[in-house]
Subunit: 304 residues, 3 copies
């Protein structure tokens, strides 16, 4: 029974939570978004957790869900980009195994700096698979065409609907979901774990959206939450999770969330050329930088 | 008063100098190059220095100008690539803040290896901003078109004018300046700090130009100093600044300067595809590699 | 005499062997593949070894051939991509010097993690040179056009000839060779050093080929060994060389070899956009990750 709880905990760890109630709500949100997201997300979580267990990772990391969450996102991401078929099942299993090995390799390098891997293993594995898939006829045959929302509806004038939907979608896009009520379920899942975390997530989503709007981003992309999900994760990470909560710490988190929104455009343009996707790269890079800098800033402190 | 001197010192640190007289000559050179380079360069320097001060960086790093120089280049670079308007003012402030955080993050990682950040924070921030700017209508609207000099004047036959102008321009291009007399003022600024440094800078600029010419680079690019500025910084770094001055050390610096010229072409082609700019990436990468290798070379020694 | 043996040892170290008999067979294989591969491979090996010696690297690293093998591959790679002329001679010398400095810089960073550089210095230097060469008229003039084998013969139906030739070619492609009998000589060279290594190399080549075939890769590329050479190096590295030989270790090596085959497609597509080549990047990245992860896996042990 306890072993079964590591799976929802793994899903919850995508947003740094270890409550299995949060994870259960997240799983429900994934199934509401589409059965394939739920099924492939669970497949990735189980494969990654099992791989870590078989290779002999310490028990507490496994049971806290820390070995599962990259697998969750690998499953959800690959079914979105490659379609729900048996080749994708095989690929998610292989990619989740690779993600588990990569998680341990990154921990070897990052632990001396007191940095977590975040979702970097997911980002690396998914980027590499998506870059390579077009070379493989049997992987690529079911892949859907996924233009950005602004391709069908260009323009930078943001409507009220873009604004409020985008704010919820920012929370859901962490898991590639673009329906506002799915984002709301994720937010409820966060509130079960901690109201502060839910508030940080929602405010960060709004900050990301407003930064994009101020610079003149495409309104349809803002409405889909594409400028919000990286600030959401960055905001949670820097608000009390890894940085001690303080007035200076909150200002630091706001700057971090805004930076993640700006970086989203840079990386999206880069991956557009290369044939990959933005994923949660902006969050990973900004949060690593903002956390690695803390020890040199005497006005901020790392959370224990 | 002493606080005010940190600003010219910050500008001087682009070329590893801490003399505020050098910095004052550099600021004059920027204004001779164009009012916008002087104004935005100072804006970036002030913002970066202030951010470091507010976050609690140690006093001696701030007063030596070590927290300012990446901000200088961010200001000069962004006004060149995005045009002089109020959105660029806001962006330079935001980018300089991000550059300060990145400087500290990089110091956390690099200090164990006894490596300085060099201008890497400027390179990272400017690259990311320039990649992302086209996605933002209000940032991109004022951006000028900037083809390389060889686009209007192709051909590999170098004239005498290309040669002597290029030699001075190599010194000025560290700050994106392409007029020979601006390069001369920068050289005068270096000579105020140390004649050895000025000599190393000029010789390295000539080495870079000659390597490019020998391999068959475009003459107009050579004349604009585009193959010289990375060797200039690499040459200063390896000649007595971070490597102990010796006969073997000078040979090592010459090889480093030539390598930086070669790498310039590789990175220029890469950024051409990706939509970024070469900046001082070749200098940063070559100098990191050449310095990190020194401890294993028993015939060379790091400067104290 | 002993000094002369460091050269064949350097060539043998491409495949992690220190027997000069293995190196001699490898050199023969290169000359059978084409005189230019033998000559430029030796030029690179000698230059790299000599540079390391002059800079004062410890004697045992030099005499084991560990300072030569990146030079070997730089020589063979550059003559393939740029053609056999005097500019390429000069470039191989310069690139091998840069590769030696890079090897030491990487050792400074990687030794604390107990990771070898593998062929990363060769990959970095060759990638940068190939990216930059088109900017230089005199370097690029002799460069041959090198489309992938599948360009002339598209289709994913693998013939028996593709299969058996591809299995041998996977061993030869480590050195850019695409004739099955050249691969066979390399295999003989490995068998001289150790039958286990030769078996690991051949089985890994077959694994890489089968992974590519299962995913639906182009048959002509499979037949040329393009999906095999990175698994070959990964398989040797993980089977007893750097990971203690055990049942779990062999499973780990098989997963590593399969991952290297998958990564080959991702990096090939990436370099296709950027104008570079896949080289042995997949092996380097996969082997670093799989080795860095070992200390956290209680069911695996590093070889002493």
């Amino acid at each position: 029974m306890d072993a079964a709880l590591t799976i929802p905990r793994g899903v919850a760890q995508v947003d740094f939570q270890s409550s299995y109630w949060t994870g259960l709500l997240f799983i429900i949100a994934l199934f509401v978004g589409g059965w394939q997201f739920g099924v492939f997300g669970l497949l990735g979580t189980v494969t990654a957790t099992l791989t870590a267990y078989l290779l002999g990772i310490t028990k507490d990391r496994v049971s806290m869900g820390l070995e599962g969450f990259n697998g969750t996102l690998i499953g959800v991401g690959l079914v979105l980009y490659l379609g729900a078929d048996w080749m994708t099942v095989a690929l998610v299993i292989g990619a989740a195994v690779a993600g588990s090995v990569l998680t341990s390799a990154m921990n070897t390098v990052l632990t001396p700096y007191n940095l977590p891997t975040f979702t970097a293993p997911f980002c690396v594995v998914t980027t590499v698979v998506v870059l390579g898939a077009p070379s493989f006829e049997r992987l690529w045959s079911g892949a859907p065409d996924l233009p950005p929302p602004s391709a069908a509806d260009p323009g930078t004038a943001m409507s009220w609907s873009d604004f409020w939907r985008g704010s919820f979608n920012g929370v859901g896009q962490v898991f590639f979901q673009d329906k506002w009520y799915v984002g709301l379920i994720f937010l409820a899942g966060l509130a079960v774990a901690s109201r502060l975390v839910a508030a940080a997530a929602f405010v960060s989503s709004v900050i990301g959206l407003l930064v994009g709007w101020w610079f003149g981003a495409q309104a349809a992309d803002l409405g889909a939450g594409l400028y919000g999900y990286n600030p959401v994760l960055t905001g949670i990470a820097l608000t009390g999770t890894f940085v001690l909560l303080s007035r200076a710490g909150v200002v630091y988190a706001v700057i971090g969330a805004a930076t993640a929104a700006g970086l989203t455009a840079g990386l999206t343009d880069l991956f557009d050329v290369l044939g990959g996707h933005t994923l949660t790269w902006p969050f990973v890079l900004v949060s690593w930088v903002f956390l690695a800098a803390v020890p040199l800033f005497s006005n901020l402190r790392r959370a224990p």
